[in-house]
């Protein structure tokens, strides 16, 4: 066992566990977005940043940093609050997130984070990118306007379903999620229509076709339920 300090408390963890896992096991809450139990950590959203005092105050993503003996971790501070809020504001400003008319209004992890972190306004200008929706699939829709590029769909598709349909296309600020090598979802030859990407998506970016405002309720825990039932190799 490894002993470390998180948010002023002595915490026990197994070797190889992440700071986030150790914190959650000890009941210490750290905000997350791209992290989903059952998927490998990615460190894409940076909302779970913590300060490691024993590393001279270095800021690291807790979901992707392994615990060390004697480590001292600050989970909540004015600096972290400001960093997390700024990251969240950038996420909102990057695409077109209009909660009032969104299928996931009231059931959205991004919206919940805005409430949790007290994001009452956005201090950076919105980009208003001209992005579309792909409603070609018979059952599911992707709306790039609401995507935060967390990659949960990509990981669920490759790690859990093994279809590897979803991936990232383009670069930098132009990055979007794409099926196969791009093109309409309906044309994908790899998609098994399992729907785990929709369940894993934290926002209204992936949705069931035909849902109206605030009607989309997701079950991201389906990913961990599936992995826990699966026989270990």
């Amino acid at each position: 066992m490894i002993t470390l300090e998180i948010a002023g408390r002595q915490v026990q963890a197994l070797p190889g566990q992440t700071i986030l896992e150790a914190a959650e096991a000890a009941g210490i809450h750290i905000p997350t977005l791209c992290n989903l139990k059952g998927l490998t950590p990615r460190g894409a959203c940076r909302l779970c940043l913590v300060e490691v005092t024993s590393w001279r105050g270095k800021v690291v993503p807790s979901c992707a940093t392994v615990v060390e003996e004697g480590m001292t971790v600050v989970a909540h501070s004015a600096r972290l609050r400001e960093l997390r809020r700024t990251i969240l504001e950038l996420l909102f400003a990057e695409r077109n997130h209009i909660c009032s008319v969104c299928v996931s209004n009231g059931n959205c992890e991004l919206q919940d984070l805005a409430c949790e972190l007290g994001m009452d306004h956005v201090r950076v200008p919105y980009r208003f990118p001209a992005l579309g929706m792909d409603a070609s699939h018979a059952r599911y829709v992707v709306d790039h306007n609401r995507c935060v590029l967390c990659g949960r769909c990509v990981r669920a598709c490759s790690e859990i379903e093994g279809a590897m349909t979803w991936g990232f296309a383009h670069r930098g600020v132009d990055t979007v999620v794409a099926t196969d090598a791009g093109g309409p979802w309906v044309d994908s030859s790899t998609c098994t229509e399992c729907g785990k990407c929709v369940e894993a998506c934290p926002t209204g970016a992936l949705l069931d076709k035909g849902t109206s405002v605030a009607e989309q309720v997701k079950d991201p825990e389906v990913v961990s339920r599936v992995t826990e039932r699966r026989p270990r190799a």
Partner: protein, 473 residues
């Protein structure tokens, strides 16, 4: 020569009235400008059909239910489905709740202060609070009546403003039995209030003759939906147009073909378009929509109490069409009563607890028109989608737009009658506003724009110089 410009208050949105004077100081022309632009039709493009009811409901905070229901109907047309019987009844119930709340707001909160406190009374008190001071019982009852309408919307849609409950193919949920019982218990009081307000209006009507004869009193066409046998209709049916003598000009028109009959003119001085009846040309094809038009177009209300009052309403014009826009108030009160009678019928209907409320279908048409009678008049949503149900184009024709020509003629008529000298007096300002308010316009909706409605009045001389300007926020 001069212009008088008046900002309008106690309506929804922003507006400006310009009165143009000739060399003799008489009103030569009047314009009612809608000074906002929004662009809903543009930013709906690229969105999925199923989101449209929720998006277009956001056009307005007063009549979101109307846009919601109309949009869902346009969606039905694109799915090419007939909505389940229960869903149709539930949608109708919501619209009747919308009529009660919107009409009660128009009459008690917005217009009763002018009517009951007097056109020239102190503007600081000429509002619903002043009314509450003067006639506390009436004001309170009016507020409760509006709340009853909103409770219906909330019972169905889960919230009073911007419910997203109607969807292409039907509705999301039925009326819970518990809500039905609660509404049924409140219904008798609502009905008494509606009847009392009607009696009060009829009692005072003789005192308002000058306003009744100058607030948009002119012959015109009237357009609305009617049901089978020309019964009063609020959610479906076919278009009927009658003239000032109630002679049918057109009947049995499929609303989806509206563009064959209605043209839209554009003037450089207003963001609001000017629809007109094509066969009569522009601007002679002026027609009116809304409560007055619905009552002029129908042959009966379809419920006993409302039919009785309709008989009295008809006597105003000896059986011909009532052509004074002041009578919109009268028509509105009759429609509240008719709505309450129909609500009573629906509350006793077991279909409204049915779980079969949503027809499921894919994209079966690439174009669809939804038509609906909003409290303010006929509302049209026309969508074009791609094979996947993504909106390529949307056209919304809203009630206030239909009445644009009529509102312009109304302010000219009031200006001519009440302008003395070259000053905008409080009495003139308020009557100009009152003339507009009779239509219960929603300028926010009309240009799909937001906000409360400060109206300005400007008095302009023959060369366009501003002689006087008055307004309030």
């Amino acid at each position: 020569m001069e212009n008088i410009r008046i900002p309008v208050t106690r309506v929804e949105g922003h507006g400006l009235i310009t009165l143009k004077l000739d060399d003799g100081g008489e009103v030569s022309d009047a314009r009612f400008h809608v000074t906002e632009a929004r662009g809903f039709e543009r930013f709906c493009r690229g969105r999925a059909l199923w989101e449209m009811p929720g998006i277009t409901a956001r056009i307005c905070g007063i009549c979101p239910a109307s846009h919601l229901l109309c949009s869902a109907k346009a969606g039905d047309a694109i799915l090419a489905v007939r909505v389940p019987r229960a869903a149709d009844k539930l949608r109708r119930l919501m619209n009747l709740g919308q009529y009660v709340q919107s009409h009660a707001l128009s009459f008690f909160h917005l217009s009763a202060p002018d009517l009951l406190l007097g056109w020239d009374s102190d503007p600081a008190k000429r509002n619903v609070l002043g009314l509450a001071e003067d006639s506390p019982e009436l004001a309170l009852k009016g507020i409760r009546l509006r709340a009853f309408g909103q409770e219906i919307i909330e019972a169905l849609g889960g919230r009073r403003v911007h419910p997203a409950w109607a969807v292409p193919g039907g509705v999301r949920s039925p009326l819970p039995a518990e809500a039905r019982d609660r509404l049924a218990a409140e219904l008798p009081a609502a009905r008494r209030t509606a009847e009392d307000a009607l009696a009060l209006f009829e009692k005072h009507l003789p005192e308002w003759q000058e306003e009744a004869e100058t607030f948009g009193a002119f012959p015109s066409l009237f357009l609305s939906l009617v049901g089978p046998g020309n019964v009063w209709e609020h959610h479906d049916g076919l278009l009927r147009v009658v003239d000032e003598q109630r002679r049918p000009v057109a009947e049995g028109i499929d609303p989806a073909r509206y563009f064959d009959y209605v043209g839209e003119a554009v003037e450089g001085w207003s963001y609001l378009k000017f629809p007109y009846w094509k066969a009569h040309g522009y601007p002679d094809g002026l027609y009116r929509v809304g409560p007055l038009a619905r009552l002029n177009c129908c042959d009966s209300m379809g419920t006993p109490l409302a039919d009785e009052v309709l008989g009295r309403f008809r006597k105003v014009a000896d059986g011909e069409a009532v052509t004074g826009s002041f009578y919109y108030h009268y028509a509105r009160l009759i429609e509240i009563l008719a709505s309450l009678e129909r609500i009573e019928g629906y509350l006793g209907d077991d279909d409204l607890q049915s779980e079969r409320v949503r027809a499921d279908a894919g994209i079966n048409e690439l174009e669809g028109v939804g038509v609906h009678e909003a409290p303010r008049g006929t509302l049209l949503h026309h969508y074009w989608v791609d094979e996947n149900g993504i909106i390529e184009r949307a056209n919304l024709i809203v009630s206030t737009g239909h009445n644009n020509l009529a509102m312009n003629r109304t302010v000219a008529q009031i200006g001519r009658h009440y302008l003395t000298g070259q000053k905008v007096t409080e009495g003139l300002l308020n009557r100009l506003e009152g003339g507009i308010r009779a239509y219960d316009p929603c300028l926010s909706c009309s240009v799909h724009a937001a906000g409360s409605m400060p109206l300005k009045v400007r008095l302009e001389g023959p060369d366009g110089e501003i002689i006087d300007e008055k307004g309030r926020r």
